[in-house]
């Protein structure tokens, strides 16, 4: 297996063998409405390599039982797999210990966990939480709920017209009242890479904790949580070429162990009587009930896959595709790209004169092109740019120039229909 993967990166030149990579993803050979599928919606959810699918299938067939319960061989094996996956995630993020890795359902549940467990116990009325103008609803609504529940204040860090995060304006929002900064690593709409390391350093000066929404960020540039030195970092499996139904909340172990449980149930307790229960330390404290067992195995397999190809190689490839796509799309008359930050990843949101994103999406789907149209769960950001919706093409490790050419051709076809 290792040998096969090595072939994907040519030993002599470091070239990325996109053909071999694409062969690993069965969905990429699908046809859609008589055309080869050009899948440009990886930012919503990525396709899965065969290796992940086969690993999960194998685990269901041969290694499946509930975890942390049975004293029999099969349950021990399932538990070992699950805990091995935790270790794989910890190594991938450079966490100090696997105990800092909590498996959740997705990033939404990870952020809600922090808002409930940390927020309701360590924040109080009048404390300030700072988010940015380009957050996904998953990193807005939990804080609004907390605002209504306990009276925290929500502050919004602004961005400029190109979509750059404005560090100086952010710094002005910081004060001793700032207790938490919750910011995305990369904008899911604009592709902007946010200077999270500087944000952490600035937040530290006022003693604020920092949560990073790593949904898009970890996929495109990875993360080293020790070097970053934030307090929480959340990401989801399905955007990282793994299964849906599993997400990760990393937190500093001391903070996690100071937090009360979020959900109560089996597996998270030490003892239970009808009078009182006592709880285990992290991660078990935050994993009540049967966890996503095989999803964890699939996520670990996806991490092995991208690690073997090389996160750096993937980033270089995606950056090349971004440049190519930016140039191709800019050449289409009437097309305006929304989000031109200095540092961005492979996401292009755009408007096309006189054609609503939903119409674009329906029309180019007839040419086999899959993109997302809508507000991308970021309505405040849409308002910021004065648009109700955008069309978004987002790229993955398997996107090639052919996909971009097919997109450009389909957009010209849509323009033709609308005259």
């Amino acid at each position: 297996m290792t040998f096969e993967i090595e072939n994907r990166i040519s030993a002599s030149s470091g070239d990325y063998n996109i053909g071999l990579i694409r062969d690993d993803f069965p969905a990429l050979s699908l046809e859609c409405n008589g055309y080869p599928l050009a899948f440009l919606d990886s930012g919503a959810s990525a396709q899965k390599p065969s290796k992940v699918l086969e690993r999960m299938d194998h685990a269901y067939r041969n290694e499946y039982a509930n975890v942390h319960r049975g004293a029999y061989t099969l349950s021990q094996q399932a538990t070992d797999n699950y805990e091995h996956a935790r270790k794989t995630v910890a190594d991938f993020m450079n966490a100090k210990t696997a105990d800092e890795i909590i498996f959740t359902r997705n990033v939404t549940s990870a952020i809600n966990l922090v808002a409930h467990s940390y927020g309701r116990n360590f924040l109080k009325a009048g404390d300030e939480v700072i988010i940015s103008h380009m957050e996904h609803h998953a990193n807005i609504v939990p804080w609004q709920l907390l605002m209504e529940a306990i009276g925290i204040e929500l502050k919004i860090a602004p961005i400029d017209d190109a979509g750059n995060f404005l560090l100086e304006d952010f710094e002005k929002l910081l004060s001793p009242k700032t207790k938490l900064v919750a910011i995305t690593h990369v904008s899911n709409v604009l592709g902007t890479i946010v200077p999270i390391k500087t944000i952490v350093q600035l937040a530290r000066k006022v003693g604020a904790k920092v949560l990073i929404d790593g949904c898009q960020g970890i996929v495109h540039e990875g993360v080293d949580v020790q070097s970053l030195d934030a307090d929480f970092y959340a990401f989801t499996g399905h955007k990282l070429y793994g299964p849906s139904g599993i997400g990760v909340l990393w937190g500093k172990i001391d903070i996690l162990n100071s937090m009360p449980p979020y959900e109560g149930g089996g597996d998270m307790i030490e003892t239970v009587t009808f009078e009182k229960s006592t709880f285990r330390d992290a991660p078990a404290r935050f994993e009540a009930g049967t966890p996503p067992i095989i999803e964890a195995v699939g996520l670990a397999s996806a991490i092995d896959y991208v690690t073997d190809v090389g996160m750096d190689n993937i980033a270089i490839h995606e950056n090349n595709i971004l440049k190519y796509a930016t140039s191709c799309l800019s050449a289409i008359e009437g097309l305006r790209i929304i989000g031109n930050a200095e540092k961005k990843i492979g996401i292009i949101s755009f408007e096309l004169d006189g054609i609503h994103p939903h119409d674009i999406s329906t029309i180019i789907d007839s040419k086999g092109v899959a993109v997302r149209a809508g507000h991308h769960c970021a309505q405040p950001l849409m308002d910021r740019f004065g648009v109700p919706a955008t069309t978004r093409a987002s790229f993955g490790m398997y996107t090639n120039e052919g996909d971009i050419d097919q997109l450009a051709e389909a957009l010209n076809y849509a323009k033709g229909i609308f005259g």
């Binding site: 939903h358 119409d359 809508g374 109700p388 229909i417």
Partner: protein
């Protein structure tokens, strides 16, 4: 697929989408409602002047949306003028079935012309994800005349 697409985006719809009729707030309206499609953020407001006998005397709309939702609102506002609330309910029921490809039986003869006009939207039945675009303005219309302020497609 291309035939279905051409049927959906036929000239009449593109024309209504680009040059919507009744795209303004009429004078002296007494009812209005917003129609929201939370999936895409599209939003229309329907303004109605309802007479004492429950007849729509005037109607208009504004807002932002895709070609399908704007064209549908444009066609709807043309049709409902002079109709009663009860007649609008019947028309919407027929139109909804048209959009989802259900058999709407034999419509009462008084609606024949209206149904001919609405038929241009029926191509949407090939695109289930777009049915809500076509019905958004109708939901808002019903909400307006019932005195609700907001209609949602969800």
């Amino acid at each position: 697929m291309e035939d279905s697409l051409r049927e959906l985006y036929q000239e009449v719809i593109l024309d209504h989408g680009k040059n919507p009729r009744n795209f303004a707030r009429p004078q002296n309206t007494n009812y209005q409602a917003d129609g929201n499609n939370p999936l895409c953020g599209d939003r229309l407001t329907i303004f109605v002047k309802l007479g004492a006998d429950n007849i729509i005397e005037d109607v208009g709309f504004d807002g932002r949306g895709c070609a399908i939702s704007i064209a549908s609102a444009s066609i709807m506002t043309d049709i409902v003028k002079g109709r009663s609330i009860e007649q609008i309910d019947i028309l919407f029921s027929i139109f909804h079935k048209m959009c989802t490809g259900e058999d709407f039986g034999k419509a009462p003869s008084e609606f024949e012309d209206d149904i001919d006009k609405l038929m241009v939207m029926s191509g949407v039945k090939q695109f289930p994800m777009r049915v809500k675009c076509a019905t958004l303005s109708w939901h808002a219309m019903q909400a307006a005349v019932r005195g609700d302020e907001i209609a949602s497609t969800e």
